[in-house]
Amino acid sequence: MAQEQKQPRKSEETEEATEVATESDVAERKESLDEDVDAILDEIDDVLESNAEDFVKSFIQKGGE
């Protein structure tokens, strides 16, 4: 990638950015994304009502409007 011909429109900065997007980085990013998802699910797990089935079953409303 480093040997890639320079394109005149690209600034050096964007080229560097392209350069660093290697496969391992993608994997790393996916991993951190997964960690991110895990973190939010862990947090939601902590506040979710226990016994989902009973909880959902007991939520009975009358129509409104």
Partner: protein, 500 residues
């Protein structure tokens, strides 16, 4: 662009550990707890004099004998009903606590006073459970129990009386069939009882059965014809929109109201010349809702087949031209912002819908559900997914999943918490809600009753009640009466000045 608007939201209510508790009693406890804590002196009644829920926009009155008892909303059943100093109404409607925002003139103000309503409800429920012996009452800002019952989140838009109702039906129906892709709240379960497996975009779609009608509780229509303007009926109608979902995401509410108001402006100005009529709109509404991949195409009467996003893009295109044509570079900042956000959202819905998980309710909910499905291998009929759907709308910041996501910075906000807190007690400044709210704040002990179109004073030393009509929604604003109220120390002085 200014338009007088408001929303009314019925909250789901649950008494923890007592699924068979009487919801009317629980709702009254919630409303009364808030009223007792916040309303000083005597509590003003709601004035029903100007209410006419059976007036039909098509030009006739439904007979009270043939009306369902749930339609007789002007009968004072003795249920809790208070007017707040922010100009809003907090009351019990059927079996739910309900909050109606004060009248405002911009989409962002709808978001502000609608969010203030959530905080009022939260505060009310917390106060109710502090009463000795009371269990916790939990409120949900959603629209169905997933067992066949639905309750509403209505919008109201003041419109010119001269606009033919047929034009509204024609041009608004395709818009309502499709706008759910922007402002749906998302739902686990298909069908009114939610037994069908899957996720759908809208909470409400499966509860709509006809195209046009007066009812709100049965045979729900896409276009509701209730014609009760709470304003001069010669000049205005109030379009009562019952098809929307209750939104938690601020951008969902903002775009719901902002885009609808724009479409109404185009209808009033007869700007829409394209025929976007959809074949079988009731079935189309449901089919759009049932396809979160957004691939479903509805058939137009001209033979074209468009996705809901494409249909919305047609309206966006018209709205851009309309604003350019009528306002050019003088268009106000909020209208410009609504157009820009609408375009951005539709573009993303076409290319990468999941990138809207930080903006729109249904996408935020779907993303969370999909993450759970992936992690825990859950099928769509798993109770845990239904719980996530329900708990997304729990209004408690410590338990509600919308709130957890927003606190974690995963959902964008348009407002700051302190603005919302202020709007719980302070009225908007541009409408008669300002007069109503300030009067309630300053002269509560001398007010016998109030409603959208009146404030009724009971003044010391006077036998007759003094009714101050507020029939024009744009009079009674801060510019109009602010100094007067500031300068009158008593209600008596105010009434004297007003009747001089």
């Amino acid at each position: 662009m200014r338009r007088v608007m408001g929303t009314e939201v019925e909250y789901g209510i649950s008494v923890q550990g007592q699924p068979s508790a009487n919801p009317m009693v629980a709702s009254s406890q919630v409303v009364n707890a808030y009223a007792t804590a916040t309303v000083r002196a005597r509590r003003a009644r709601w004035d029903f004099e100007e209410e006419s829920p059976l007036r039909d926009a098509r030009g006739f009155d439904m007979s009270r004998q043939v009306a369902d008892s749930s339609q007789l909303t002007d009968e004072d059943l003795g249920l809790a009903n208070v007017i707040l100093t922010n100009g809003a109404r907090l009351y019990v409607d059927h079996a739910h606590p309900e909050y109606s925002t004060p009248e405002v003139v911009s989409p962002l103000d709808i978001v502000l006073w609608d969010k203030a309503g959530e905080q009022v409800m939260l505060d009310a429920a917390r106060r109710a459970q502090q009463l000795p012996g009371n269990p916790a009452i939990v409120l949900y800002k959603n629209n169905t129990d997933n067992k066949g019952a639905s309750y509403g989140a209505h919008e109201n838009y003041l419109m010119r009386r001269s606009t033919p109702f047929g034009d509204i039906v024609k041009h608004l129906t395709p818009f309502f069939v499709s706008r759910q892709v922007v402002c749906g709240a998302g739902r686990v379960g298909i069908g009114q009882d939610g037994r069908g497996k899957g996720f759908q975009i809208s909470q409400r779609a499966d509860f709509f059965e006809v195209e046009v009608g007066l009812e709100t509780t049965l045979k729900r229509p896409i276009i509701n014809t209730r014609d009760e303007p709470h304003a001069d009926p010669e000049r205005y109608r109030r379009l009562h929109v019952i098809i929307g979902d209750a939104n938690l995401a601020e951008i969902s509410t903002y775009l719901k109201v902002g885009t609808t108001s724009l479409v109404l402006a185009m209808i009033e100005d007869r700007f829409i010349t394209r025929d976007l009529t959809v074949e079988g709109p009731v079935a189309a509404l449901r089919s759009v809702s049932h396809d979160p991949t957004l691939a479903h195409r509805v058939t137009l009467t001209d033979g074209r087949q468009l996705t809901a996003v494409q249909l919305q893009l047609e309206y966006l295109d018209l709205a851009r031209k309309y604003v350019e044509d009528r306002y050019g570079s003088d268009a106000d900042a909020q209208t410009v912002d609504v157009l820009a956000r609408w375009e951005d959202v539709l573009t993303r819905l076409e290319s990468d819908p999941m990138s809207l998980a930080d903006q729109l309710d249904w996408v935020a909910k779907l993303k969370l559900l999909e993450q759970y499905r992936t992690r825990d291998g859950l099928d769509w009929d798993d109770a845990k997914l239904q719980l996530i759907d329900l708990q997304y709308s729990d209004i408690r910041p410590e338990k509600g999943l919308y709130h957890r996501l927003a606190q974690a910075g995963r959902i964008q906000r348009l407002l700051a918490d302190d603005e919302v807190h202020t709007a719980m007690t302070v009225p908007p400044e541009e409408t008669r809600a300002y007069f109503r709210g300030r009067c309630l704040e300053k002269y509560a002990s001398d007010i016998a009753a109030a409603s959208w179109d009146s404030v009724i004073f009971d003044l010391p030393g006077r036998d007759a009640l003094q009714r101050v009509p507020t029939i024009d929604p744009l009079r009674g604003s801060r510019a109009h009466v602010g100094e007067l109220i500031d300068s009158c120390d008593t209600a008596d002085a105010l009434v004297r000045a007003l009747t001089r």
